[in-house]
Symmetry: C2
Subunit: 584 residues, 2 copies
């Protein structure tokens, strides 16, 4: 295999230092899966590096409480066996040049379909060209999700993971070319559309009031009219899917595997979790790191990603068991844990992955949960049925849905969503000059607040209302409502509202709902809702809101100085034109 | 005793609701001591309220590991016995009207001196008038510090605690009038100055480079030239004293009392602590909540308090034992602590008091320490010799010096410094309309940063310098240096510097010093120092700096929207005129 090919392969695998891919950021499109390896690994010596996230760990004693699926195990063993050979430059697995098409046989579609994820060899096609990617699977930077495509067309997946639409990736694929589809199976030179798998075909129905930002995968925000309730109804809870909604079958049979630091695995069914551990209810707000991204775009410059308004945030009561209790049962010493454990990685059934610090995972006051119910009902499929993680106080991207696996590790998750997407950089950094390793993955989020409603109240109506009693206002007024939230369990202690674009400030009333749902010993995992009435004569130009948390951090006035090209954590003061008020 | 007198007494004791005293805020002057009771207590019924902070707790079993001083115990018993009687309106202890001077005897100074803190009765004088305040001592809102004055003149203390210079306080004192000083002991109608105690007479000498903001008590900041080293030398460490520096005698004999939730007391000498507990070294930054208050004043409006520039912050390596280990030894169950314990109160030998949450006090990763050494030497007297608390990540006001006592309680400290001084309110709140209970005591602090040095480097010098190698700059440049720090152990992840008043931003280099002093499992308790070289042609108007911590919180652009009348937590972007650069 030539040097040029190797340079390409390394670049694709994210191993070529700063020249890694920028992100293809069409709103609604998805970015690449895990890159598998960080650039800094290169210096440590390629020969020791295996892209699959687990293979660097020691020998794997496997203790199955329940029986683990054979597919996963098989692939991992395959990975360990093939990886070092594949990564050695002199290895003959790679052809020096793709053969000319006419040197290869014609292949029937039915034969391709046999080389699926249940088989020992994996074929895919693109256009009318067929590839045996068996040897590539363990090296795929995105991990096992590639198995979704085998036995069929790779194209629907590359239309989602648009990073593949790139010459370097095409070149890699060509190395595995084995022949063309038999023309008898083609219609207009292509495989029939009915045979092309639709990854989203089993996605659930959604509530029609959700504001859809992308449909495949589904990303839809809660409308402002539904943000005024402390608990968001499950069907109104914003949906943030990175991929399709996996169909995991019966809830009680779903299995969670805990992989300990020595490679040992312990497996629990959801029924095991329910039966063997104390159940907790935690009311917590989840917020997408892109909430209010549209405001950063409007207030500063274009940003990459879904253009959320104020509704990529919702609150629910989550029921489940504590991760720390399950880890203790699986053999982790919570009082004197192994010092090699730094992170808890989570892997979802659809291939999504992320991690949090091990300290947070086992913190007595961290309330990290394995959740099977939401607002008193089984988890809806869009929110992780039958099992998800809840990491309160952290960006929602860490609360992995459709949870298959927890891996205790010295390293954080190598996924795209840990290593790239969910980070912020300085205003001067752009996608073409970013060094992704310069910023840590977003975990706890900064202070945030928004105005969700502005109503004008006539003086004559006001006199008889609750507001008159609360505020003592008898003149024509405007009532503003909204939410405020901070990460890390830091309580919102004050919400300042300006009726004149920041010249003067009033303190909003913090509504006491959250007192019903948590005791004094629990951190503030849920948003605060607030309300303020201001007489009409005080209004000028824009309403603004900013909140303050218990560490006395607050929000930036503008977006320019905190602009980041990914548009994450857009928490500049929320400004709403005074003219936007509706009559009551 | 008449209704008017009672109204006055309640007002003085801080019991009259919103009409409590505003703070007398001459820079350099001190505010009142503890108010002893919060307004909300009034509603709970005066009859059950005893101002001394411990008397509300249950029976006090006292288990002395070492022997406690008899004075403290005696006063507390006295307090318990007298309190309910004194607070009952019909109690005859209070004279309805002060008697005319000529009805009372003349008293020799020598006799007054006999009624000192060792005696069972306590006398003071003011001018030539003598008062027996024995009955008032247990009710003194400021606590036992009043005993400093007994046997002598009250005036030097009232010159410090200026809240006493008030008609209501004079009226209370007059109720205890017992006679006039014998004219034979007066010089020009007053007691000789040599007999008037100077509370600061035993204060230590200080380094002449410290920038003094008030001398009695000593408040002095570290000069910018000394803020460039990661560890601040002890003699350059900023000094923030609320009162005098107590002279506690031999270090090894100094005793710390732990008061448990049931009133039981356990006492340790410093020697006990050294001998019986594992020693730790923690490198941590301490910052006064008033650091950069002068910038808020200059950037917005006048603020109350010492007008610190950027030097009310320093970093040291602190040696001592963990508070959690000592509490465990004293009988606290760290795994299943008594749910009534919410706070750990700290009492200093000079009467200062403050508290932190019990969770922080026992957090395995909280690193709250009982400290007896600083930078490898015994604690200097200005920094708490022989024993202080270190509460890393919290405002320095909680790291109580000259520690006498730790009280585990359901309530936070009732001191002035917990209930009033160290809080922030909205920009619209002023001293005349503040409700002190509306804001929580400052504990963890927000993100902060400052520029400590600006040097111009000529192109010809630059070519041979480290900076040329680091930055690749060969043209005439400016090198900026500074610090950045966030509370809560949240690491500084980025420092943005603008050479043109916020139009464009550069990322400063974060210097790696802190990697030498803490391991991965420890939170970021120390500041980050940073450096940036900018070519001269990029400069325009003002340099600005803002830092970002790991929760992606940052600093406000201006001071106006975050103005608070106490001038606390002034963390607006630090701006320095471009013209301020010095030639190198």
């Amino acid at each position: 295999m030539g040097a040029v090919k190797w340079a390409r392969l390394l670049r694709v695998a994210g191993l070529s230092g700063r020249k890694g891919y920028g992100i293809v950021d069409q709103p609604g499109a998805l970015q690449s899966l895990s890159l598998g390896l960080t650039p800094c690994r290169l210096a440590a010596g390629l020969h020791a590096t295996v892209p699959l996230h687990r293979a660097h760990q020691g020998g794997s004693r496997t203790r199955l409480v329940s029986r683990a699926g054979p597919t996963t195990l098989g692939i991992l063993l395959l990975a360990a066996g093939l990886a070092s050979a594949l990564l050695h430059p002199s290895n003959p697995t790679f052809a020096e040049e793709p053969p000319a098409p006419n040197e290869r046989p014609l292949i029937r579609l039915a034969e391709i379909q046999e080389h699926n994820r249940e088989a020992g060899t994996f074929w895919v096609y693109r256009g009318d060209r067929v590839y045996d990617i068996t040897d590539w699977v363990p090296n795929h930077p995105g991990g096992e999700v590639i198995l979704r495509a085998v036995g069929g067309s790779i194209e629907p997946y590359w239309n989602i993971f648009t990073i593949h639409q790139n010459r370097d990736v095409y070149d890699i694929l060509e190395q595995y070319f084995i022949g063309n589809i038999d023309p008898r199976d083609l219609v207009d030179g292509k495989a029939p559309a009915r045979l092309v798998d639709d990854p989203f075909k089993s996605d659930p129905e959604r509530d029609s009031s959700l504001m859809v930002r992308s449909s495949r995968p589904c990303n839809a925000e809660t409308p402002a009219s539904e943000l005024g309730t402390f608990i968001t109804p499950a069907e109104k809870f914003y949906v943030r899917n990175h991929l399709w909604v996996p169909d995991v079958g019966d809830a009680e049979d779903h299995r969670l595997t805990i992989e300990l630091i020595d490679g040992e695995e312990v497996t629990y069914s959801v029924a095991d979790l329910r039966k063997n551990f104390r159940e907790y209810n935690i009311t917590a707000t989840l917020q997408c790191s892109g909430n209010r991204r549209a405001h950063m775009t409007a207030g500063s410059r274009p940003t990459n990603g879904l253009q959320w308004q104020i509704g990529a945030i919702s609150t629910a009561t989550w029921t489940g068991v504590r991760l720390r209790d399950v880890l203790a049962h699986a053999g982790v010493d919570l009082n004197e844990p192994d010092e090699d454990i730094k992170h808890a990685q989570f892997v979802g059934a659809e291939a999504y992955g992320a991690s949090i610090s091990f300290d947070k995972a086992i913190d007595r006051h961290g309330d990290v949960m394995l959740v099977y119910a939401m607002n008193g009902q089984a988890l809806p499929r869009d929110h992780g049925y039958p099992l998800r993680v809840l990491v309160p106080g952290h960006v929602a991207a860490r609360s992995v849905k459709w949870l298959n696996k927890v891996i205790l590790s010295g390293d954080e998750s190598t996924s795209q969503w840990q290593k790239r997407d969910y980070k912020c950089f300085g205003p001067n950094v752009a996608s073409h000059n970013v060094n992704w390793d310069d910023a840590p993955a977003i975990q706890e989020t900064p202070v945030q607040s928004a105005i969700t409603g502005v109503r004008q109240v006539k003086g004559d109506r006001l006199r008889d209302s609750d507001l008159a009693r609360v505020y003592g206002l008898e003149e024509e007024s405007v009532v503003l409502e909204g939410y405020a939230f901070a990460g890390g369990g830091r309580e919102i202690i004050r919400v300042d509202v300006s009726p004149d674009n920041g010249k003067t400030w009033w303190q909003a009333q913090l509504l006491p709902h959250d007192k019903d749902v948590h005791d004094d010993n629990q951190k503030a995992w849920a948003w605060k809702q607030w309300r303020l009435a201001v007489p009409t004569h005080a209004l000028h130009e824009h309403f603004c809101v900013k909140a303050v948390d218990e560490s006395y951090n607050s929000q930036p006035e503008q977006f320019d100085a905190f602009y980041n090209f990914r548009g994450n954590l857009a928490n500049g003061w929320h400004r709403v034109p005074v003219s936007s008020r509706s009559k009551d």
